[in-house]
Symmetry: C2
Subunit: 492 residues, 2 copies
């Protein structure tokens, strides 16, 4: 094998880091907590972004772009939001460097170029956007506003992990404005459903839709809806959030509109976002000790073809047949790569594409051409088969669908097997340590209990599932009465 | 008319600002020098970006993403580059805000959260990227690297204009690494040609390809190639640049590779970029006193259909026919909008879509449905015609092509009419004041003369055209010998 990675059993966390680096998705950078998204990782992000963008546009949204910087006075306007992000934001204080008189060739911050008002590098854009919406909204005729933005944001996290938690990350943030509470709540839920559909149908990632407890809410929201996924180590990962913001930002920025009765009202708001963190979820949900396993629908390369040359005279014959296959695959819209690079050996390439998680690998030698077959290997199951070249494009298309489905089923099975109920505190603790996963348990609804459980176990309430049925019970920790179960887990 | 804008004659600069705001392309923001790109402007940018992205990928490039921040020590490594940008960069010095003890609800920069090393918000990414390439390049086998990045950058400009010059702007920056000087120069010219092709074939913007004089070069480049366009007020606008960076960045960041002879060599570099500034060029090259004129190939909406209702019973009849037309147009891949909003009148809509520069407007009333015709108006010429609905999709497709060509021809004619030769200093000055445009004139090749001409007239050397023929002559200013003409103009 050309590249070895730590196994999941040995060290799950190291396995993840090794995989991100060795598959060529991303790299560390010279900037604390910031990553470089390498071409392979960015191609994956482009596929995810483009699909989400289509889904946003299909639900009536348009894109726009707002400034990177938030003046401090705007940043602090919505107090809860400001409080939530103040502790981790990058602040621009100066607008010029100048030559250091004491060190030739070096620069220092020019003390005379101090900004009158500091600028916060956006950790999220509610403040700058609602300050803008104020100018755009006068009457109910100006509503709804359904805007999304693709952007970079910065949160000065102390402990960072590639994709999962980086100081700068790429994301999209939807910011909508509505006439009524009902319409805003409907939008919040609609976008949660878009995220769930994207996660399940494109990323092959089963998710639980739910609502956060008050203490896990987005700073400034009235309600935070989320999708939660389960990783292979039994930890949960929040994969997307959709917030009902009530009138909090409208009040903070005084955004009122004349309603149909000609009365002034504050506007209702939502915001919703997913980020490059999703790539972390994707990796941890599906991959194995040999590398990535990518869902065909978003894989940058869906099929790779490796020629097995034997002597110079075999090359034109194999190349010709390979090109025929490529042409056929492309007519089916399949993203195919032909790796006839002669500086590396087939065995090296097999390991490399396994590492990169390419869903299907075709190998073709001279004997294969004669027999009109190729050797085909699925990345998800590693099954190998000799397949007729006649009709190969339909066969591959079908197999890609099957792989997509299989990856999803596998993840769903894993989640089902690792979602357990607990009714006793001892069981709860035991499960967390011995069989980590989601734990469905009763909770008395208080922030105090939630905090105590977190302190004792590091487990948090991931969500109150939207489909949870009312059930009388007793809180797993306090024993106080509870009306429904919630989902606990340790989480990323 | 619903919205009036200043005429070009009255005040060209005000016309431009009015147009950007009233057509809904962009808006001012609360952040000094930063703009909000509104949905209509962003849709235009998306079309431009997507086409450029296809052209980059077709020429073998891949996308990636590098950090927003450049640590000061990396920023200053390439001295000329650092010197060129130090005067206008936003600097992050702190990573936390805290509650102001003296003012409830207000925040201050936490003095204890001062960064050990300041971070520059990227004004361009050569430094952070070449510091990364150092880790990626060991041998000639790692070359070439052909990476592009779509990103936001910040340059703290003192005088800003919407799209043309903003503190933050969106752009793409290509950063390539090569084995040989020859290959790097070839890449530089290749990308210049991609830009020229994009400007001419998609933006309908005729451009001159040329090389910058030494004093107009990108800071850190050995040669800067550019495309220059002429605006309707006779001022030039640099629409894109492609830089041959020599080994400057490789030396600054010590990026060496083992060549085929197993010897260490410094890597050769290029970088190239275009930005949202192109939108400013687009507006100023084509538009008129009634609004934008957008080239069909990149217009967010290519055809707008306005129903002329007369009584309730006319609505279903007109809507049905309009939907039939829309369906036909869509099969031709035409981007069409149906504006049947009843809160505004047809006349208001006509003016609105003129302002927005929608290339074709169709109006359809009850009589039209009976006669199987629509009223069709071209935005570029304002010609109006009654056109049969049978075959309307092919007719519109043809007309959109004709409009694209006509806008280009018009701009080309304008540029040709406003490109003049001058052989005497008096003529040069007179032309600049009375017939502004490109002036082709001899120059002695010295930075000194260039600077004096700039001081005396505000005109700069826009470029030394790539297709300029050798011609003996005397410098327009110094009278010293010159071997070819260069292009002068006042510029944005």
């Amino acid at each position: 094998m050309s590249k070895e990675i730590t196994s999941r059993k040995q060290d799950y966390s190291q396995w993840y880091n090794d995989l991100v680096i060795k598959s060529g998705l991303a790299d560390y950078s010279a900037v604390r907590g910031c990553m470089v998204i390498k071409p392979y990782g960015y191609a994956l992000w482009e596929n995810m972004r483009d699909q989400l963008d289509r889904m946003f546009k299909d639900t009536g949204h348009v894109n726009a772009y707002f400034p990177l910087f938030v003046p401090k006075s705007l940043f602090e306007a919505e107090e809860k939001n400001a409080e939530g992000f103040a502790k981790e934001c990058a602040v621009v204080t100066h607008y010029r460097l100048k030559a250091d008189e004491n060190k030739k060739g070096k620069l220092i911050v020019d003390p005379e170029a101090r900004l009158e008002e500091e600028l916060v590098v956006r950790p999220t854009s509610e403040a700058i956007i609602w300050n803008t919406y104020k100018d755009w909204i006068q009457s109910y005729r100006d509503l709804p506003i359904l805007i999304n933005q693709w952007a970079n944001v910065v949160r000065w996290e102390m402990r960072t992990r590639l994709f999962l938690r980086t100081a700068e990350f790429l994301w999209q943030e939807g910011h909508t404005a509505h006439e009524t509470q009902e319409e805003a709540v409907e939008e919040t839920v609609k976008m949660l459903n878009v995220y769930a559909e994207f996660a399940e149908n494109y990323m092959a990632l089963p998710v639980i839709k739910g609502v956060k407890s008050a203490s896990e809410r987005f700073a400034g929201a009235e309600d935070t809806y989320c999708i939660e996924a389960l990783m292979q180590d039994g930890k949960a990962l929040q994969a997307g959030t959709s917030h009902f913001l009530g009138q909090n930002f409208a009040k903070a920025f005084d955004v009122q509109f004349l309603n149909k009765e000609n009365k002034k009202e504050y506007v209702w708001a939502t915001s919703w976002g997913v980020s490059t963190r999703l790539i972390g979820a994707l990796i941890m949900a599906h991959s194995d000790d040999d590398g990535l396993i990518l869902p065909p629908k978003i894989a940058p390369v869906q099929v790779v073809i490796v020629p097995i040359y034997k002597g110079e005279e075999s090359k034109p014959v194999i190349d010709a047949k390979a090109n025929e296959i490529i042409k056929g695959l492309k007519t089916k819209g399949i993203r195919v790569k032909y790796d006839n690079n002669e500086t590396t050996r087939p065995g090296w390439k097999f390991a490399e594409y396994e590492m990169q998680g390419v869903p299907l690998r075709l190998a073709i030698g001279l004997r294969d051409v004669e027999n009109n077959v190729v050797e085909l290997v699925r990345r998800d199951t590693k099954e190998k088969a000799s397949v007729s070249i006649t009709g190969i494009e339909a066969y591959c298309a079908g197999l890609l669908d099957a792989i997509q489905q299989n990856i999803f089923n596998r993840a769903l099975l894993f989640r089902n097997e690792n979602t357990r109920s607990a009714d006793q505190w001892d069981d709860f603790i035991k499960l967390l340590d011995e069989q980590p996963g989601f734990i469905s348990a009763h909770w008395d609804g208080t922030a105090e209990t939630e905090e105590k459980i977190k302190e004792a176990t590091k487990a948090t309430i991931r969500c109150i599932p939207l489909d949870a049925k009312p059930e009388e019970g007793k809180c797993i920790f306090s024993g106080k009465p509870s009306k429904q179960r919630v989902l606990f887990a340790r989480a990323y």
